[in-house]
Structures are given as structure tokens and as C-alpha cells.
Amino acid sequence: MATYTNNELITAYVSRQIRDDDLCFVGVGTNGRAFTLAVGIPLAAARLAQMGHAPGAAVYWGNLLEPDLSVIPEHFTQDAFTQWQAAACPPDTGVKCDMLARRKFDVSFNSAAQLDRYGNMNITAIGDYRKPKVRLVGSLAQPEHFAFVRRPILLMDLDARSFVEKVDFITSAGHLSGGNSRREAGLGEGGPSLVVTDKAIFDFAEDTREMRLKSLHRGVTKDEVLAAMSFVPLIPETIPETEPPTTEELAFIRNDIDPHRILLKV
């Protein structure tokens, strides 16, 4: 039985969620663990999908459309971005925004300071918006992702401060208060589809749109998961184990995609 790291497990799992010809949005920047979740794992997963079942899968990264994932930069300083070869590099970020609004994206990878029971997320402010306890970065295109992308995937470590009953500020409208509330607010199809964490995978119930435990990573118990959340998600009768990476997937990740452990470092 293959041994693997949590990052490898998540990378392989996420790669299987990417379908052939999917266009995937991957964010830029941040560092440390946040980089691994927002950039490292998504790039590795997209490349793994390309090498396997989804050769036509493409990434929009920064303002690079279809950057060459066979040569992912080893240092994420400006010149590495400038020199990264791609199929296209539109004149400004507005082109990416238009593609979002036209629903050209199939998958996006998102992380948040707060995520709630109905998949609403907050990257704007903790506490009161006018005089916040913690001012965060703002919004970027996170509202667009939940409004227009077909299958947004959240990548976050499970933590009671992040998984809250209700977010302090709705930066991105997920399933709002559940049921039809998203549609009633004026939004179309979309909103968060999966929440991939270091302990378990969640999806959202078809009817109530509540977050639902989907699978537990090998060796993780339900109680450990609940202990790391400030609300109790829906829990099915039987909880399967998160499907582990295959030896082939592990070989691709370790030998071809991230040989120097840059993407999956921490």
C-alpha cells in the first residue's frame, strides 16, 4: 500500500475533479501554506490531470491563458511570471473578467479566511466591516468565481476559526441561506461545489445546499473533523475514505510535476 503525504492525496483527488477541456482558474501569490493551497496544489493537480485523463484541460493563471505547465517556474518572483510561456496573455485583466462573466470557466480554486455552512466565503474583513478586528485583502475576483464558475473547489485546512456558522462578511455569495436563496438573490448556477481540506472532503447537499461530509482521509475520524469546525455539517450514514492516489499519480507528482517539492512544499 503506497504511502503518500496529505498534499499528494489532495493533489490527486483534485486532479480527478478536472475534466478534459476544462478551463481552470488558479490564483497567484501568497506564501507558505497559503501558497501551497492556492497555487501549488492547483497547478500540480491541473498538470496531473493533463498528463492523465484530461489532456485538454487548461489553466488561466494571473493573466496567462494556458501557461506551459510542463515547465512551472521554480521561483515565484516577477521575472519568472514575465518569462513564463503561454498560449495567450491578453492586454489587460479585463479580458479574464469578461471570460468569467461569460461563464467560460469550469473550475476555480479558492481559499478563504472564513467559510460557512452554506459555502459563503469571506476574504474581506473579520468583525465589523467598518472597524474590523482584522482587515483582510478585499475581494479580488472571488465573488466572480462563486457567481460564474461552474464548479468552484475550495482548498482550506480544517480549522474552527475558518469553518464558521456564519461568515462576518459575505465577500462571495455561495449558497447564501441554502435552498433556492441563491437563485432568488439573482445568481445563476454555480457556487462552491467541493471543499477539500487536510482532513476530509465536503460537498453541498442538493436540496438544502448545506455543507456535507463526503469522505474522510485515511486515518482521520469523524470526531477529529467535527472538532475542527464551528458548525456541524450534514453527515451521511456511512462515510467513505477519500480515494488515495495511485502509484502512477504519485510517480507523476514526484518525478515530473514537483521533483523539487516547490509546489507541495508545506
Binding site: 511570471f81 514575465t82 492586454p91 489587460d92 479585463g94 473578467c97 472597524k131 465573488p143 466572480e144 457567481a147
Partner: protein, 297 residues
Amino acid sequence: MKEKLTTLEKALSPIVSGSTVMIGGSLLRRQPNAAVRQLIRNKVRDLTVLSWAGTTAIDLLAAADAIRRWEGIYVGLFNYGLAPNFRRAVESGRIEVRDFSETAMVARLRAAAQGMPFLPIRTLFGSDLAQVNPEQIRTFDCPFTGEKLQAIAAAEPEFTIIHGYAGDKYGNVQWPVVRDTDDMDQPMAAGAKRLIVTVEKIVSHDEIKKQPSLTYIPGNWVEAIVEVPYGAHPAACDTMYDEDDAHMRDYLARSKTADGVKAYLGEFANALPDHAAYLEKCGGLAALSALDVKGRA
């Protein structure tokens, strides 16, 4: 053509306390930091500042207590984390924020460029970004389909400051063919009322007119152009030099406290007469050239 080449001092003198200023660049690219340090020397206060993804320029202005309100999509320090001075000012209530998502901010910039009071989007239904800002984000019905849309008010700053790659004395600014295009500088320039551009270098008009399609800011739109080598330092100017990691870390360390960053500003802005002195303070062109990237023009 009209000559628009001048100094930072002259170019920025119309910007007084209480002005509304759009700041160009995105993340660590082409932050107009030389201009920002001049504004800090000028002791302007109570600015309403608009930006795309703002980093060093916005945090420096916040550190100098120059900002009353900010409007944009992001303020942080990219891979250096949150923007400590901006964060402190917002958390203390000194800076009011108006957050816009990317399609919303794009709509604001394009509306101004098109001479329209607003443009429509449909992004922010259910988002608190719309709920807290009825003054600039309003729901209305499509005149054709009747569906609900959101009108986003045009961005109409009195001044716009952009740092570019190279330009001529008439204000024509060009970008290199291969660059990092992840910004909104051209739409900002297109909608600007009074546009002040700083560039890494001034080139001849003969150079410019050979490849007119590389002119992303026509001189016709520009009020003043100023040559400031390493004008984005400590941030980067893609294709020319990278961000200054050591300087960024020092800035972050000294930004842990308000006093710490005040001392930093004293050393790197207030105590210095101009950008030339700043470059000397940073070790001079010789030292700074260590940041240059290969293929730099």
C-alpha cells in the same frame, strides 16, 4: 506635439490634501512608488485613493496617514502577506474602505473611459460588497430583457498616477512586446481626467513612432511625464527589474509598529529631497542594477 516632460515636484504639485487619486500598477508590478514618496514629502492628507491590486504604493500612503478612503479590489503585499500599515489604519477606523470585485472595478474603469456614468454587471447579487455600498452599486432592470442587473458607478478620480516602462517627452508611453499584462493601467489611463505618468526612461519620439501599436498611453491623454529610473522600487517593473526582497523584508519588519514605519518614511521619503536622493540612499544605480532581469531593454 506638446512637450510634457517635467519633474516629480512639478507634476504632482496640483495634488493637494483631499484630492481623489487613482494609483496604477498591480500587485508588485509598476507601483508608482517614486511618485508616492513625493506625495508623502508633500505631506498631502485625506486622499481618496483608488487602485486595482494595490501593494507598496497604498501601504506607503497609509503609513504616512495620507489616505481617508480607499476604493479597489485588493490591498496587500502579494507574497509578503497583508499590508501592515493599511491594515492598521483600516482596523483603527482611520481609513474608510469601499471594496469592489474585479468585474465591478473593471466596469468602473471602463465606464469612465467610455464617458458613461455607469456600466452594468451581474456579479454581486447576494454579496455584502453590494449591500454596504448603495451609493456606487445599484440594482436596476435591463431595458431589453427586464432581468435584474447591477449598475456600477464610473471611477472618476481627479488625478491618475501610472508608472510605465518608457516614453517620450510628449507623453507617449510604450510597453515591451512581452510583459506581464495582469493589470488595468491602460483602462485607467483611458478614463483619466488628469494623468501623470512616471517612466523608467525617456526615449526619442523617433523610437516611439516606429512601433505606434506599442503606445498604450498616448501623449494626447497625458498631463505630465517624468523620468524616474527604478521608480517602482522596492516593487518590480516587469521586464526591467524584480522586487527588492531585502528592502521589502526591512520595510515589513519596521512596519510592525507605527513608530517603526514612521522612522522608515523619515529615512526613505521625508528626509530626502527627491528621487535621485532615494536611489543614492538605496545604494545607487550600481547596487540597484543587481535587481535587473535578463532581457532588460
